[in-house]
């Protein structure tokens, strides 16, 4: 089997995940895009592990670790998401902008105007 096929699949999944990460507004869909990118990393880890076939099984072990960390990340991410929903009633990522440095003067959700430093 060609090594480049799983690597191309990994590249495609990473690109799709990064598109979703940039374009989605709903926090749950952003988390799904992060999952796609983590899976892209997993595919290339497993592919290189099967290719090198070393005694440590480093790629497959790390892939299992990544799966575990993804589960922890989803748990914490959903807890934060529910907290955000309880306190604001929305989980749109472009409405939680109070901590952002203000870019435009006529920003609708702007909490504090930028002081002239």
């Amino acid at each position: 089997m060609h090594l480049s096929l799983p690597l191309l699949l990994s590249v495609a999944l990473f690109g799709i995940g990064s598109y979703g990460l940039l374009v989605r507004r709903n926090l749950i869909l952003v988390l799904m895009s992060v999952e796609l990118m983590l899976n892209a990393a997993n595919v290339s880890l497993v592919a290189f592990d099967v290719f090198w076939a070393d005694v440590l099984r480093a790629g497959q072990s790390l892939a299992i670790f990544v799966i575990t960390i993804a589960a922890a990340e989803i748990g914490l991410g959903l807890a934060i998401l529910l907290l955000l929903y309880r306190s604001r009633g929305t989980i749109a990522v472009d409405e939680a902008i109070e901590l952002r440095e203000s870019v435009y003067d006529d920003e609708p959700g702007q909490a504090t105007p930028r002081t002239s430093a």
């Binding site: 999944l13 076939a53 929903y85």
Partner: protein
């Protein structure tokens, strides 16, 4: 490791099966990031991650494939669907799931994909990997895990516990607020 060369244009049987699973994974991933119905995005994510498990099986990584099915399709997708339910996600199609910067995002991600794909094909275009040996069964992975990776494994169990307690602490309603 077996370094034998064969052009990408002459596929083997394993190549074809892998390409089939990979195509399903890519198409359903595109549906995840482009569908207008949020529940459908979760179900397409299950399809994508499940066909990735098929890809792992073709690459003779059995144990990772079953872990993928158990944890991703079994737990993560269900958690995401729970999250949709608890945030009262709209059932029908909704137009506000996607932001306004679609062109810039498309440009950036297509750029990343193009550069990485050219790099991969240039570097490994005709390299073959051996998928006939049992390199990913439960006994092989278990031996590697508990002989060489014990310390990361235990650290990861502590991390999972910390994440669990953290999730409980975050979602517990505080006194005084509300």
């Amino acid at each position: 490791m077996r370094v034998s060369e064969q052009s990408l244009l002459s596929p083997t049987g394993a190549d074809l099966v892998f390409a089939l699973f990979g195509l399903v994974a890519i198409v359903s991933a595109v549906m995840v990031v482009s569908t207008k119905q949020i529940v459908h995005a979760g179900l397409w994510l299950a399809v994508s991650l499940g066909s990735l498990a098929g890809c792992y099986l073709v690459m003779s990584a059995d144990f990772v494939a079953w872990m993928q099915l158990l944890i991703y399709v079994g737990a993560v997708v269900v958690l995401l669907l729970f999250g949709m339910m608890l945030t009262r996600a709209p059932i029908g199609p909704s137009e506000d799931l996607t932001g306004k910067n679609r062109a810039a995002a498309l440009f950036g991600s297509v750029g990343i994909t193009g550069v990485l794909a050219v790099l991969v094909v240039d570097a490994y275009g005709s390299t073959m990997m051996n998928v006939d040996e049992p390199v990913g069964t439960g006994s092989v992975i278990g031996e590697a895990m508990f002989r060489y990776w014990v310390l990361p494994f235990e650290a990861l169990s502590v991390l999972l516990l910390a994440a669990l307690i953290g999730a409980i602490a975050i979602s517990k309603p505080r006194q005084g607020t509300k």
